[in-house]
Symmetry: C2
Subunit: 198 residues, 2 copies
């Protein structure tokens, strides 16, 4: 049996965490193997021991970030429909330091994703998945009478994604102007604007 067998995947996760740290700090322009190794206090040789190439190392870090994001603790939706949509969107916004770092990494990755067909397709697929998850909440909301009966859930889902991610970008660049309560107020304003009015 190889020594410390089960640790191998754990080490790869450690490396990915260091990648996240460097990315959140310096962006993709400053992401070098030496910087990642320095962030871990190890040598670049270790990195190449666990990943065949830099691309694989970055790919694993982004994949793992997505899986961790999907599996992270979420807000309990207090009710179905619009309340659940609100909870899902609040989970996206950069309201805490961890969310800021996560969003920063995704926004930074767009430069690479727009130039690399594979990564670009992955990003597009992520958006499609997000829209269909939100669409479920919007369909429920419509059936509950929280939306106009003629509302188009797919279009509203795309709009909700647009609004939320556009807010993410503004908040990342100007956190002073978009503190937690300002982001929540903007989101609530958007949600009440799409809601059916009495």
């Amino acid at each position: 049996m190889p020594p410390a067998a089960g640790d191998r995947e754990a080490r790869r996760e450690d490396v990915s965490q260091a990648v996240w740290q460097v990315l959140a700090d310096k962006g993709f322009g400053g992401l070098t193997l030496r910087a990642v190794a320095a962030a871990m206090g190890v040598s670049t040789g270790l990195l190449m021991h666990y990943f065949p190439t830099k691309r694989a190392l970055v790919g694993h870090a982004l994949d793992l970030l997505e899986r961790r994001t999907a599996a992270r603790p979420r807000r309990e939706p207090p009710a179905a429909g619009l309340a659940a949509l609100r909870a899902a969107l609040l989970d996206i916004l950069p309201l805490g330091p961890a969310d800021v770092a996560r969003n920063r990494i995704w926004v930074s990755s767009w430069d690479l994703a727009l130039a690399d067909d594979d990564l670009g397709a992955g990003q597009a697929a992520r958006y499609t998945r997000l829209r269909s998850a939100l669409r479920a909440h919007l369909e429920t909301a419509r059936d509950l009478g929280e939306l106009p009966q003629d509302a188009d859930p797919e279009r509203l889902a795309a709009g909700a994604v647009a609004f939320t991610h556009g807010l993410v970008v503004q908040a990342l660049f100007d956190p002073g102007r978009f503190p937690e309560d300002a982001q929540v107020a903007l989101l609530d304003g958007f949600l009440s604007s799409i809601a059916a009015r009495p």
Copy 2:
């Protein structure tokens, strides 16, 4: 008198255009002086003749892109208020190839801007300027009765910027799913959702 005096700034613009071309094609990760020189069919020596450093070259290209964007021909607002807001937002969306390239460059620049304090502050200032331009239209719209009387123009401006730029990002990654008419339909849906209802 120096020979061909007035041409100097024109050459710097030529270089900046080549920078745009490389950025739209390969992103910041592929932006090298050799790539820019190759796109112009000149040597890297020429680039250093007109710019002291790569950072200055990139800075000039982004500055010039912003000025060109501000001075580009715009849609005639058919009326004041919401119609003017609609025209302004349509001018932002990637509805044609030129707008796609321009937006692609800005989105790509976010990786650099999030890591560089100067560029980040510039991006934040751009957002502030855009919001206040849109706020003017929203104030007019409110005064015209197109919005609820208690509408908050600054908050709505931030929301409109968020919606529009979030849509830009989705459209860049999935142009097949967001053709021109889909983007316009989404925008019109957003605008009618914030409008006062009869």
